[in-house]
Symmetry: C2
Subunit: 357 residues, 2 copies
Amino acid sequence: MTDGANTRPARVTAATIAAHTGLSRATVTHVLNGRGTEQRIRRDTQERVIETARLLGYRPNASARALHTGKTGNVALIQSLMGAYLPERLLLGLTEALGENNMYLTLAEVPDSVLDEQSYLPKILREHTADGLIINRIVGIPDTFVEAVNSLNTPVIFLNVNRPSDTVYPDDYNGGKLAANYLVSLGHTRILYVGPTIGTDYHYSQIDRQRGYRDAMKEAGLPTQEFSLPPNPETEEQIRNDSRVPILRSYLEPRLQRPTAIVAYEMAESMAVLHAVNQLQLQMPQDISLVMFHHQMDQRFCVPITTLCNGMQQVGREAVNLLLDKISAPGTSFPSRVVPIELLRGVTCGPPPSLCR
Amino acid sequence: MTDGANTRPARVTAATIAAHTGLSRATVTHVLNGRGTEQRIRRDTQERVIETARLLGYRPNASARALHTGKTGNVALIQSLMGAYLPERLLLGLTEALGENNMYLTLAEVPDSVLDEQSYLPKILREHTADGLIINRIVGIPDTFVEAVNSLNTPVIFLNVNRPSDTVYPDDYNGGKLAANYLVSLGHTRILYVGPTIGTDYHYSQIDRQRGYRDAMKEAGLPTQEFSLPPNPETEEQIRNDSRVPILRSYLEPRLQRPTAIVAYEMAESMAVLHAVNQLQLQMPQDISLVMFHHQMDQRFCVPITTLCNGMQQVGREAVNLLLDKISAPGTSFPSRVVPIELLRGVTCGPPPSLCR
DNA sequence: TTGAAAGCGTTACCAC
DNA sequence: GTGGTAACGCTTTCAA
């Protein structure tokens, strides 16, 4: 009486159901896995099994199944989470596509220190926890790390870096072209590219977006104009004397020769542009147009900025597809997949002022 | 020769090592689990085992261990990823703290549709995949869902909602007080609170931050002034006629009675403030001060805005601790834990203009 | 239609 | 010091 109705048995397994129904474990799993009819198990038996499972609150044990099938049903996402690039859309794309394949995403943080230590592998790689690995945007991955990972028997793909194979990343080069072409198509001829100052450990997109812009301008027979935003100031002193917006402002100040449109590398540059534009009392898009690269149309800025969207959700989905391909053909190398960058129209672009007058 | 050196055996298990070393599986696992000395296994035997494991590229099978121990070593994070609140700091806190306990975070996206359907549980909850569940910031969770989750035998905690028990969330009420008090301490007396328009499915922080502000102002004997930013415009028509910044500007326009400081609910409100301030050619912080709630000091805005940081990393860590407590004491209910909100000084605050003159 | 049994890789208890 | 052996929960093949 003390233990009967209220204390549910700690674990309800297929065996429990078998015992309750007086059937064998095999029959129970057959029914539970939808193979009941195929196995020509009586209708009412099937219903009895299912009802009992429901009543008992049966939940299959993933580890046991994994042990038998040799597949964990998990994919691990590896990255240094400190300073990570992990847009929600990317996670959404990954989990969606994995979910469609009855798999899950396991997040593994890899401290930067680990990446430096020669041949030290993070714990998640030292055991057999996932069916595949996704390595996200680790800039300047040490070769030793890549080698160590490859020596694992686990399929691996890379994300958001530009490697020739087994990688998924956005087409930043054509994104750059798209940006410039779009502004050209609106009638702009003086288009300024605002990017970050490119240091030693740069990301490929810093090069590619700018290259795309340059090539598109050249093709249109227009001159390029580029401005590298100095890095974020660090000390408070530097912050108070932050010269980034003033410098940028000087680019936009001259009445006649000022750019009529801007391509910004990402949000940081866009914000500087917005500040400068505001300070100069310019109207957007009447006086000046702006496009930026981002992973979505971001509504938090009050002004929806026309965005070159790097399709992180799609990147996530493609990554899963690629990884599943690799899992089913272990050892094979696949060419990298490039995801197109799309233009999302905000309200920051229009024809150049000269054409309006 | 075809199969010898190049084709590595598909799976290296403890048995493989046992075979290679001529020892029993038990001895091998003893050594591998660091129980070698305790079991008084010869030094050289131990070394032989470890070396062989390394050579063979042995990686323990997590599923097998899980099956035996009854612990998967995984914690599932449940949420609707569409429109999710998932700051990187939160993930960092979660994965860090889990990592310290040799556990991993499994991300499970739960489509909104699923939450609505009565009693339908997402797949990850229908099987035994994780040792515990973290439910993150699902606003307006249907009671049926909570019930269904509770009927599972799996420990569950909530994140970023304000439930009385088994929950971790930032102390937004005291954050609101802190914001106001800080500005008061700088000498401000006309402090405007800018929040979102509170709809039907609001988040507790929308109430709490504002309440904190109000109470602090009352305690300081100062009048409150509040402005609800209308929701983001949706159609392009609405966007072009976006009246949010102009309206806000009208609050800041009058020379004498205008607020000298602003508490912004979050980034969206801050951006509107920055735009309005820029358009009015006001200097920040000379003419007006600004603090906002956010999950970190964000360097992308060019101006580092003084931030009330809701400590998502800490929230993540506390969440893991709470969940581990629940896992080791199943069925117990723990009081919710509130994580203090911290003030991170940016460059947007200073004394009010009147005191400068 | 149903049941018996083997095996997945690990752990841990208990003999030797 | 070392080596059997059972058990974890599930899947699947083969027999009945």
